[in-house]
Each structure stands twice: as structure tokens, then as C-alpha cells.
């Protein structure tokens, strides 16, 4: 296992938000977490990336504990996170924002090379390179955040709702990139409210609810589990429309 959470309990000052989370991410796979709003999905990410310290429990990455490490140290271990909202530097240009993704890298030519690759991949990054990131539209900002995480070549990428705000075409690009990353040997852990799409992309599905993992297994199984489907994956809107 590349990443393993055992009995993680964590919270923000008040009560516990995570109440004993157990989670394992296998190397070279895509794992997708789904669950209701407020289940604690994003909290799992903040705990892994060292922003929030767990109260108890163990987090192992490549067999070594991450507990107590600062966000930089976690990053050095090869773990990158794209948070759910607003993580750009609004007054800096798009280019500076993307380049800052490689803040930890010392090799300048490598940074340049990566940047060239990324701007080839995403036209928005290229076209808006010298504009303030804060002036972009919601979806464009989301895309830049995603592009930024590609600057490092991490072994594990945490993506919190990569699909949010993206138009269908861009969404396909992003999902394609995620698959490419996996094929290149990266491991990906993502949270998706666009649950069916997320699970279809993933190898492994995790259902979280009330700060605990409720179900964990191959994504096919999760997708096809009728109870889970009804509870967390929603029915089809068009079907209901037909009824109305």
C-alpha cells in the first residue's frame, strides 16, 4: 500500500469530524472517495497533507508515518494536493501561479520544461498566461489549479473535486490527463461529487459518511451496489423529469 490511514480521528477545535477513518490506497491506481456533503472527505485530505493534525491514528506513506509533518515536509515526500476551493494567488499572473507549483524544485530548466508541457496541454493557461489569476472565470481558475499540481511530479496526487465548475469538454481533458498520469505510474486519490463519473474513472471506490468509511472496494462494485447507488450516487435527473 502506498498510503494507509488507520483509525484516524481529527477535528477542528470543536468535536471530531473524522471518527476513525481507515483507508488504503494502492500504488498506481486511482481511488475515488464519494459521500454526502459534510461527510469529512476534504478533512481526510487536510489531515493527510499536514494542515490539520490528527488527534489519534496513524497515517503511513510508503511505510513511513506522516503524522506531525508540516505541509512542506509532506510535499517533499511526494504528495501534492489540489484543494476544493480558492487556492490560487489572485494578484499573481497565471504563469506565476503555475510555476509556483514547482516551488519545491530547484532545477530551473526542469521547471521551464514542465511549464511548456502544461501550456501545450491547456490552452487557457497559454492564452491567459500574463493575466491576473483572480480575474479568470470560476472554471478557468479551477483548471489553473489543476495545471499547477502537474508541475511537481509527485507519486501521489490528492484531487478534491477536480470536475467542479468545468465545462464538459474541459472535464474530459482533465479526466484524460488523470488517466495519463495513472498510466505514467502516479497514484491518484480523488474526491468526486460527480460520483458516477468519478467512480467510472477509478479503480477503487470509497464511500464516506459521518466521518467514517462506510464501504470500500473495487469501483465497479461500489457503482453497482444498489443501496449505495440510491443513497449516495443519486438517481437520474432525467428519469424524474419524465415522471414530472
Amino acid at each position: 500500500m502506498l498510503l494507509e490511514l488507520t483509525n484516524v480521528v481529527a477535528g477542528y477545535g470543536g468535536g471530531d469530524v473524522l471518527r476513525g477513518v481507515n483507508l488504503a490506497v494502492e500504488e498506481g491506481t486511482i481511488t475515488c472517495i464519494v459521500g454526502p456533503n459534510g461527510a469529512g472527505k476534504s478533512t481526510v485530505f487536510t489531515v493527510i497533507s499536514g494542515i490539520l493534525k490528527p488527534r489519534t491514528g496513524q497515517i503511513l506513506f510508503k511505510g513511513k508515518s506522516l503524522v506531525g509533518l508540516s505541509p512542506q515536509q509532506v510535499l517533499t515526500r511526494g504528495l501534492v494536493q489540489v484543494p476544493q476551493n480558492h487556492s490560487l494567488f489572485p494578484a499573481m499572473t497565471v504563469r506565476e501561479n503555475v510555476e509556483l507549483g514547482a516551488y519545491m524544485l530547484r532545477d530551473r530548466s526542469l521547471v521551464r520544461k514542465r511549464y511548456d508541457e502544461i501550456q501545450a496541454l491547456f490552452p487557457t493557461v497559454r492564452e491567459r498566461a500574463s493575466e491576473q489569476a483572480g480575474s479568470l472565470s470560476g472554471g478557468q481558475q479551477r483548471l489553473v489549479e489543476f495545471a499547477r499540481c502537474l508541475m511537481l511530479d509527485p507519486s501521489l496526487v490528492l484531487l478534491d473535486e477536480p470536475s467542479m465548475g468545468l465545462d464538459p469538454k474541459t472535464l474530459r481533458e482533465v479526466f484524460k490527463t488523470i488517466t495519463t498520469m495513472k498510466e505514467a505510474g502516479r497514484t491518484i486519490l480523488l474526491v468526486e461529487q460527480n460520483a458516477r463519473a468519478g467512480l467510472r474513472l477509478a479503480d477503487h471506490g470509497v464511500v464516506m459518511e459521518s466521518g467514517q468509511v462506510r464501504l470500500d472496494g473495487p469501483s465497479e462494485g461500489v457503482l453497482n451496489n444498489p443501496e449505495i447507488s440510491a443513497l449516495y450516487l443519486g438517481g437520474s435527473v432525467s428519469k424524474q423529469a419524465a415522471g414530472a
Binding site: N37, G138, G139, M164, L166, L233, G234, A241
Partner: protein, 243 residues
């Protein structure tokens, strides 16, 4: 006469023409979808309609009256409420207090009276129940999860019962099951006479809910029609949906 009519709206930011002679009309009692690629100007159009941005040219009319020069407070007062794509709630107020900000003030008495004793209080609590935030009603809104904030914002717009509601990506980040319930709720409010204009990238949601869909592209309207028409429109496929 449409309920809301935006005519020839243009808006530029530096070199970027966010809106380019864009005209749309929303009929009373409809649920209209507004879709388009990222950066096509949907949010900017919302900003212009709700008074957060002045158009460079063009006019916005609501119920036949020109509102292009009004501020957001006045426009809300006329009956247009909106949510934001990047959710904006009042982080240091409790969830319940957030609900009360939007409730209309009727005269000085209601302004100076205690909000917690107001007649709308029960309705606010019911809506919280609906979006599943009852257990968090006394928590500061800033401590909500992303999706919960979105739901809260939606709830406090709905509690104000505006005549027309503009929703900017209401389904993004919301659990699919709850989306289903949202759809139901929107339909019901619509039956009671509320008009909706909804920006959303979740096609299932848009196509299932809306009776009319407009497509924006590069700051102007590209297509308009029933969901089926739009879905079949090759220009829309090309610009937005992809193959």
C-alpha cells in the same frame, strides 16, 4: 413581454470582451438553463443583471423597467435573488443568522425588532431542514464544508422568496442524491410561480430540469431552445459538449 430581458449587453475587462452584445430573455414562470464553456461570460452576465457590474453598453429590463443602473440591493428588492459560483455566505454569522439576512424587511418595525422572534423564523428552519443543515444551525457558517456552504447560500436565497432566482452552478459539489431533491424543490417553487435562471455544467441536471436552455459562447448567445434542440445543435456540440 419577458420577465427579464437583457439587450445587447457588452462588457470588457482590459483586452477581454467578456460579454459581446449579448441578449437574452427569460419568460415568467420558466426554468431557463444557461450553459456555455468556461469563460464564456455566464457569471459576468449574472453580475450585470444583479447590479454587481455596470454594462459598457446595453440595458437590462425586469418586468419592463430598466434596472441597468440600479445597485444590487435595489435589484434584490425588486425580486431578483442570486447565488454565487464561488459561494458567498457570512462566515462569522451562524447558519441561522445567515438565513435571516436575506429575509425581507417590511418597514422600520421589522428592522428594529428581534430577528429571532420574526414570523419567518420557522420557514428558515424548515429550509435548513431541507438542505440538511439543521444540526449545524448554531455553528458559524465559516465552519461548513464546501457543499454545505453552497446549500446554505441556496437556502437563504430561497427563504427570501424572490420572484426570480439566478443560480450559478447550484449542483457543483453537491451530493447527487441531494441534487435529486433540489430538482424537486426547484420544480415545486417554480409551480408556485418562481422563475429560475440556472447556470450549470451538469448536463443531466440542466437537461432534466430546464424547459428552455440558452448557450453562451465568447460572450454572446450561441443557441437557444428546448433541451433536446440544444443538445442536437451542432454548433453547441462543437463549442461546448464536445463529441
Amino acid at each position: 413581454m419577458s420577465l427579464l430581458q437583457a439587450t445587447d449587453i457588452s462588457k470588457a475587462f482590459g483586452g477581454i470582451q467578456a460579454l459581446n452584445a449579448c441578449s437574452i430573455a427569460v419568460e415568467q414562470g420558466s426554468i431557463t438553463g444557461l450553459i456555455g464553456p468556461n469563460g464564456s461570460g455566464k457569471t459576468t452576465l449574472f453580475n450585470v443583471i444583479t447590479g454587481y457590474e455596470r454594462p459598457d453598453t446595453g440595458t437590462v429590463q425586469f418586468k419592463g423597467a430598466d434596472i441597468s443602473k440600479y445597485g444590487p440591493d435595489r435589484i434584490f428588492g425588486l425580486g431578483i435573488g442570486r447565488t454565487f459560483q464561488l459561494t458567498r455566505i457570512f462566515p462569522r454569522l451562524t447558519v441561522t443568522e445567515n438565513m435571516h439576512v436575506a429575509i425581507k424587511r417590511k418597514g422600520l418595525a421589522s428592522l428594529l425588532g428581534r430577528w429571532s422572534a420574526s414570523s419567518e423564523h420557522d420557514r428558515a428552519l424548515q429550509l435548513l431542514q431541507f438542505v440538511g443543515l439543521t444540526h449545524l444551525k448554531d455553528a458559524p457558517a465559516g465552519s461548513l464544508s464546501y457543499g454545505q456552504r453552497k446549500l446554505l447560500e441556496l437556502a437563504f436565497i430561497l427563504v427570501a422568496e424572490p420572484q426570480m432566482v439566478l443560480l450559478d452552478e447550484p449542483a457543483g459539489g453537491i451530493n447527487p442524491t441531494l441534487i435529486g431533491q433540489l430538482v424537486e424543490r426547484i420544480r415545486e417553487l417554480n409551480r408556485q410561480g418562481m422563475t429560475f435562471l440556472i447556470v450549470e455544467h451538469n448536463m443531466e441536471f440542466v437537461m432534466g430540469l430546464c424547459n428552455r436552455v440558452m448557450v453562451m459562447h465568447r460572450g454572446a448567445k450561441l443557441a437557444e431552445g428546448t433541451p433536446e434542440d440544444v443538445r442536437a445543435n451542432p454548433a453547441v456540440l462543437e463549442a461546448y459538449l464536445g463529441d
